[in-house]
Symmetry: C2
Subunit: 243 residues, 2 copies
């Protein structure tokens, strides 16, 4: 059966998240609508990382299987023509039929942007979290380093009954980017709201509200109430997926 | 009479331009509304550069005169509290009563961002003009250099009856900024739609649709139909004003 890989980016602001839901505008719903229109048959897609309401993607990867082969360039053009400028397709290719955007993914990488300044920047209001307090980058990196490795992230995610919350984080680093603090985090996979929970903790460490060296204890608690408020969605971007 | 200088930035997207107009949301209308609320008296403001619908400002300068002195910090806080995140006040100070945001300004500087790529970037859709053709930076700079100096810009602006269209451009340079082309232009003052007209011309020069060395002729024509289509507003930012 012809299997396709679709690479898309999107502005999360106008969508109620990635995952298809009846009655609201979602990225998956919009894209499946275009696919159905172009391929003249209902299409079910899967993706590498289901982003929440307001979360952006620079490089989301999707896959789908159809009965009849279709022209990949036509699919890409249709998405760009019908869903731009909110959604862009940067590639559509026929792939081996063992490919699955979700299960074939080896790692996911996210970025989170924070501006710590007395006054917000209206031009970045949809892509950067503005924090009034000055943040201590060293404290944020001390906190971040505590997340690297294999851990049970139950304290840093929304619980999903019966599913493991153990994940392996391979990179978690804050750096300065212009006047912003930019967080890069990579893991084999993420639990729901895990990146925003980790960012919320790191930012509170940067503000001096929490001990940056307490990450191991908070992880050990396996209790979400032990963590900090989660960061808002608009600073977060699904950056890259590795296969 | 106490005279105040107000520095503001704003996202142009939700506004029908800077200048107050009945029945629509404008930057000046919103800010004067806050000032009236804080100062308990109607306030009339002036600004350094009246931006059109959709045009942004990183640093717009406004001034106003009131009968009774007010606390500048309270004014700034009220603007940030009531108009954020679309508008931010980066400063409010009491100034010498000869100061006028419009007439005291010695120069204005704008930036314009263009992304020339096969596919648009949804995350920059409100701040960057996406052009499908590859642009030749040298051709754009050859065109831009033709605008530097004192010229009659009638071919590059919306005509205003009875007003001079002679202006002095002191800087007009395109450079590469990441994957974008960034235009910096500075002049003593600008006519209406002058920056977007110049950008439209330069981009068409970069596409090979117009001779970059024809700027002197087009200026001499003093006829707007001799120029090129104007660039869209969302790539433009009022960057800085000099006093």
């Amino acid at each position: 059966m012809p299997t396709y890989r679709l690479d898309v980016s999107y502005d999360g602001a106008p969508f109620h998240g990635f995952a298809r839901q009846d009655g609201v505008r979602t990225v998956q719903g919009d894209i499946e609508g275009v696919l159905e229109r172009v391929l003249r048959t209902p299409v079910r897609t899967v993706c590498a990382g289901r982003t929440d309401t307001g979360v952006h993607a620079r490089r989301q990867v999707m896959s789908f299987v159809v009965d009849e082969p279709a022209d990949p360039a036509t699919v890409a053009r249709a998405i760009n023509g019908l869903l731009g400028p909110e959604v862009a397709c940067t590639g559509c290719v026929l792939v081996d039929d063992t490919f699955d955007a979700r299960f074939s993914a080896l790692w996911r990488s996210y970025r989170y942007r924070v501006l710590d300044a007395a006054v917000a920047d209206p031009l970045r209001r949809n892509t950067v979290w503005h924090v009034m307090d000055r943040l201590d980058l060293d404290a944020m990196n001390r906190a971040a380093s505590g997340f690297v490795g294999e851990h049970d992230f139950a304290s840093f995610c929304r619980r999903a009954e019966g599913r493991t919350t153990t994940r392996t984080v391979t990179e978690a680093v804050w750096q300065t980017a212009g006047d912003e603090k930019l967080f890069a985090i990579t893991a084999t996979a993420f639990c729901h709201q895990m990146v925003r929970s980790i960012v919320g903790f790191c930012v509170d460490a940067g503000r001096g509200r929490v001990d940056p060296d307490s990450v191991p204890e908070v992880l050990a608690a396996r209790d979400r109430s032990a963590a900090r408020p989660i960061a808002p969605p608009h600073g977060l971007v699904l950056w890259e997926v590795g296969y």
